[in-house]
């Protein structure tokens, strides 16, 4: 049975697209046929992060309007042949998406794919609403920072009341916390909310912590999902998250400050 995952946050710039790209790649690398959809109509960026921006011919809105078939619009990833990208339209506005149209496309994808990852736009408007509406699981991407935590809580309220599952009185969406841009050193100094602090407030199941890492910018610069950088801390953290989501038992890493005295003395930042 296919599962629809929404990657959401409310707040912008916390790492939704980075996370969508990484976990979609991770699921596909584990042998599951996966599609990742950009719901940010008018401000698409998933294509850039996945490195397929020059191969976009048709988009999500073209398929909804019947101007292209789903197979014409889906772009096969260059690194993994089980991964497909459905880009958002760059020229239309957010009203180009309709609940009926999105529902039909997701139903069609469910026949062929094991996982469908929906990369939500920021905010709580139409695009964000449609990205989460049909979801089975929600990855709530949060930074250890006040505005992000507040917006995540707001998003949790929306997931619990405005989704298809909520409206049909079905089992609620399974919600998972992904804490990104985490800096164990700053937590230790009392300058940053800790994992426990954020969990106390949001009471969510923690799927994983992504440390603040140079590898994330390196990955987006080159258009390769950071999970493929297997030597990097962020890449490993995302690999752990995918494994945990699939039921493997992996201890949490990157939560504690491992740097010793000299590491602190000479750290560059």
């Amino acid at each position: 049975m296919a599962r629809i995952i929404v990657v959401t946050s409310g707040k912008g710039g916390v790492g939704k697209t980075t996370t969508s790209a990484a976990i979609a790649m991770g699921l596909a690398k584990k042998g599951h046929k996966t599609a990742v959809i950009d719901f940010d109509v008018g401000l698409r960026n998933l294509d850039l992060i996945m490195g397929c921006e020059r191969r976009v011919v048709y988009d999500f809105v073209n398929v909804i309007n019947g101007e292209a078939t789903l197979n014409q619009a889906l772009i096969r990833d260059k690194n993994c042949n089980l991964l497909y990208i459905l880009p958002a339209s760059q020229t239309r506005d957010k009203d180009a998406l309709s609940q009926e149209g999105v529902g039909k496309i997701l139903e069609e994808l469910k026949k062929d794919f094991k996982y469908i990852v929906c990369d939500s736009p920021a905010g709580i408007e139409k695009g964000a609403h449609l990205a989460m509406y049909f979801a089975d699981d929600a990855f709530v991407v949060t930074n250890p920072e006040v505005s992000s935590v507040r917006d995540s809580d707001r998003m949790l309220g929306i997931l619990a009341s405005k989704s298809r599952r909520a409206e049909h009185n079905e089992e609620p969406i399974k919600e998972y916390l992904l804490l990104t841009r985490y800096s164990p050193e700053r937590v230790k100094l009392g300058e940053m909310l800790s994992v426990d602090d954020v969990q106390d407030i949001l009471s969510l199941h923690l799927l994983g912590v992504i440390p603040e890492s140079k590898s994330v910018l390196n990955a987006s610069n080159s258009g390769t999902p950071v999970i493929l950088d297997e030597k990097s801390d962020a890449g490993q953290a995302y690999a752990d998250i995918v494994a945990r989501y699939l039921g493997e038992n992996r201890p949490h890493r990157f939560i504690d400050d491992k740097k010793g005295f000299f590491g602190k003395l000479f750290r560059s930042k």
Partner: protein, 88 residues
């Protein structure tokens, strides 16, 4: 800079302030999230009715909705003006 940081560990950081502020805010926003959407309109109309008879200010009325396992309570609180300052 990082050398100085190392000697300031004992300083109380801003994270605890952030947590406290968030806990209060999130609790408040969650309680208002469960309120029925007609509350503001109800409050406005009640105020109009009361004002037909008594001259009260905008903030003289508060409408609270509370919910527990067994019951839902709608609490309406109206502060009447002081008898001495009454002007009709």
């Amino acid at each position: 800079m990082s050398l100085l940081d190392y000697f300031r560990i004992s300083k109380v950081g801003s994270a605890s302030v952030a947590k406290e502020r968030l806990q209060i805010l999130v609790a408040h926003e969650r309680s208002s999230r469960n309120q029925p959407s007609y509350l503001p309109q109800l409050q406005k109309e009640l105020l109009e009715v009361i004002r037909k008879y008594i001259n009260v200010g905008q903030d003289a009325i508060s409408v609270n909705f509370e919910q527990d396992e067994n019951q839902e309570t709608l609490e309406v609180n109206i502060v009447l003006p002081d008898i001495n300052t009454k002007n009709t």
